[in-house]
């Protein structure tokens, strides 16, 4: 069976093995007058699985979107695998090649078939020959358990299938880090599991993952660390067990009581 996580993702290149792959220092971001991120300090180890949770509007999506420069931060520094996130297009391109992203709304390209969705970026950005890109795309489709859908269009698939294609599409670029922005929030309940299963496999194989989600079961089984955000700040972070059983701040307790009481 092919691995979901490419060997390259586990290699450390030039950097020392113990060195964190993502380092955010004093990151601040404003939307107009509204401050969405306040003094974020965060470092992510290679292979670490981090779940980010918090009430809506707390800045958790913005946080991970700053990492691959989908959003611009105004103050502080972000380094991804030793590359600084700046305006510099060269840096942005390099970072996006190392960081895959999965969106809440899947964001598959509806005018392209599943296979074309998967091979587009390897062909145009990584300059792989078409045959090679297709071969690796098929392997990933098999791993996310939908090899038979290669020639369908995204609109013909269920939500869960679309999200699995989206994960495979990101993996085709052989990223070192995967960002998940509420990957199961737009799914029908019975499809959540099939997507989480793929994510769990990915985690077990050692991928570095930052996952914004409210799936606390996923956080318990997979995460090394859970981060709780509110009003643009990291309020609390801890390993899942102590995080859920003995939260420190009142805000975290309130949040957990609200999402776990059902």
């Amino acid at each position: 069976m092919t691995r979901l996580v490419p060997q390259e993702a586990l290699e450390t290149d030039g950097a020392a093995p113990g060195e964190p792959i993502i380092v955010m220092q004093g990151v601040n971001k404003w939307f107009g007058d509204f401050q969405v991120l306040r003094d974020i300090d965060l470092s992510v180890e290679r292979g670490e699985k981090i779940v980010v949770c918090g009430p809506s509007g707390s800045g958790k999506s913005t946080l991970i979107r700053c990492i691959n420069a989908l959003e611009e931060h105004q103050r502080g520094t972000i380094d991804v695998d030793g590359i600084r996130v700046t305006h510099n297009l060269k840096n942005v391109d390099a970072i996006r090649r190392e960081v895959g992203m999965v969106f809440q709304q899947f964001n598959l390209f509806p005018h392209l078939t599943v296979l074309e969705n998967l091979t587009l970026s390897p062909i145009w950005v990584r300059k792989l020959p078409k045959a090679e890109a297709e071969e690796s795309a098929r392997l990933y489709l098999e791993r996310v358990r939908i090899p038979e859908q290669a020639h369908k269009y995204p609109g013909q698939l269920s939500g869960g299938q679309q999200q699995r294609v989206a994960i495979a599409r990101a993996l085709c670029m052989k990223p070192k880090v995967m960002l998940f922005d509420e990957p199961t929030s737009a799914l029908d309940p019975e499809m959540i599991k099939e997507v989480l299963d793929v994510m769990i496999e990915l985690a077990e194989e050692g991928m570095t993952m930052l996952v914004v989600t409210h799936e606390m079961g996923f956080a318990r089984t997979v995460a090394n660390r859970v981060i709780f955000m509110d009003e643009g700040r990291i309020v609390e972070q801890n390993a899942p067990e102590p995080f859920f059983t003995s939260p420190q701040s009142e805000r975290t307790k309130l949040f957990l009581s609200q999402i776990l009481s059902h």
């Binding site: 691959n68 989908l70 391109d93 709304q105 587009l120 599409r169």
Partner: protein, 376 residues
């Protein structure tokens, strides 16, 4: 999905008919659909009356009372026509070559005819995606200069025909085709520019679009024809036809830009972000992801603009070019044939309609085909 609620209704309807005493189906249909309320009944009667009033006179003008063969042999066909009540198709028979080809040298009119057939043939072939290949591109590259040589002449023993003598349908088609072929890419670039994050690029594009859109086409044609030469260095003259063509391109590109921008804005932001997150560069993102979807969404308004532009070419009459409409008007100035307006305008209306209707039908089939993958 939408048919689901209908199904029970229809079956109950069928059950009703089974119980009722049998009525002959056509009569029942008429009662159910045309006279099911006093208002609909009134409308039906009114429409029938209008049809009765309008159709027979139109038919008799067009066909039964019209003059075609009886006048052809006559010494003065126009005189025969004037005594008839119906349309004088002898006028079209007499003047069609002038209306179609304008003042183009009579004996050389096979050249614009051939050029037109060549261009239209390639255009039709290009509409079929299965024929897209390197050879089609080569055919276009070869055909365009050939069309130019055919129209202009001056080499290969073809007598020179200046652009001032070009006219009629080839001129109309040429202005529309060249105009759209240049204005469309320009419009796409303007639309992208207007959504650019670079303030200078955006400013220039907005300025251009708003300036051009705020001015009537006639004014632009006048300016291209009268004002433009004033700014040129002494001794440099630009062909009148070219000036009009440039004016039309400027005009069309501004409108097409706004149509394309509509399509760009209709796309969810996620499409841009997904392309960004995969590391695609700006132009790759636009060409591979954004424009294919935005243009597909824009097909109906695009074709609307195309058709409008095709008909707007008739405004070049204002700068002295003899397009299809102008040629028809010129034909009417002949003393012998003065006054056959209806026939003349009817004739060119049919030509305009054929082209516009074909374009519209093609766009519909294109929409159907492109929707296959994205239909939910």
């Amino acid at each position: 999905m939408s048919t689901a609620p209908d199904t029970p209704d229809r079956s109950s309807d069928r059950r009703d008919t089974a119980r009722r005493p049998p009525t002959p189906p056509p009569v029942r249909w008429v009662i159910n659909n045309l006279f099911n309320s006093w208002f609909n009944g009134l409308l039906t009667v009114l429409l029938l009356w209008m049809l009765l009033e309008l159709v027979p006179p139109i038919l008799s003008w067009l066909i039964f009372d019209s003059v075609l063969f009886s006048a052809l042999g006559a010494e003065e066909p126009a005189a025969v026509c004037r005594q008839a009540d119906g349309a004088c198709w002898a006028f079209i028979h007499e003047w069609w070559r002038f209306i179609i080809f304008g003042r183009y040298t009579f004996d050389e009119q096979w050249r614009p005819a051939l050029a037109m057939i060549l261009a239209l043939g390639l255009l039709v072939a290009s509409c079929d995606r299965r024929l897209w290949s390197k050879w089609l591109l080569i055919a276009w590259v070869a055909a365009l200069p050939l069309i130019g040589v055919l129209m202009r002449g001056g080499i290969f023993g073809l007598p020179f025909v200046p652009t001032t003598s070009w006219g009629g349908l080839p001129l109309t088609l040429g202005l529309a085709f060249v105009g759209l072929a240049v204005a469309f890419p320009l419009g796409v670039v303007l639309a992208l520019g207007r959504r650019s994050t670079m303030p200078a690029v955006r400013g220039i594009c907005i300025g251009y679009i708003e300036l051009i859109r705020g001015v009537p086409l006639i004014t632009i044609l006048f300016m291209a024809s009268v004002l433009f030469p004033l700014f040129m260095p002494r001794g440099v003259t630009i062909d009148q036809l070219l000036r009009a063509q440039i004016g039309m391109i400027l005009f069309a590109s501004a409108y097409l830009a706004e149509v394309v921008r509509g399509g760009l804005q209709a796309l969810p932001r996620g499409q841009y972000e997904a392309a960004d997150s995969l590391g695609l560069r700006y132009w790759q993102k636009m060409r591979l992801i954004i424009l294919p979807q935005a243009l597909r969404i824009s097909i109906p308004p695009l074709v609307n603009t195309f058709i409008g532009f095709f008909k707007d070419t008739s405004l070049v009459i204002i700068v002295g070019l003899v397009d299809l409409l102008a040629a028809a008007k010129h034909a009417l100035t002949n003393p012998e044939w003065r006054g056959f307006y209806q026939e003349s305008y009817f004739f060119i209306a049919v030509i305009y309609f054929l082209f516009c209707y074909t374009l519209s039908k093609y766009s519909q089939s294109l929409e159907r085909r492109l929707n296959v993958g994205t239909r939910r």
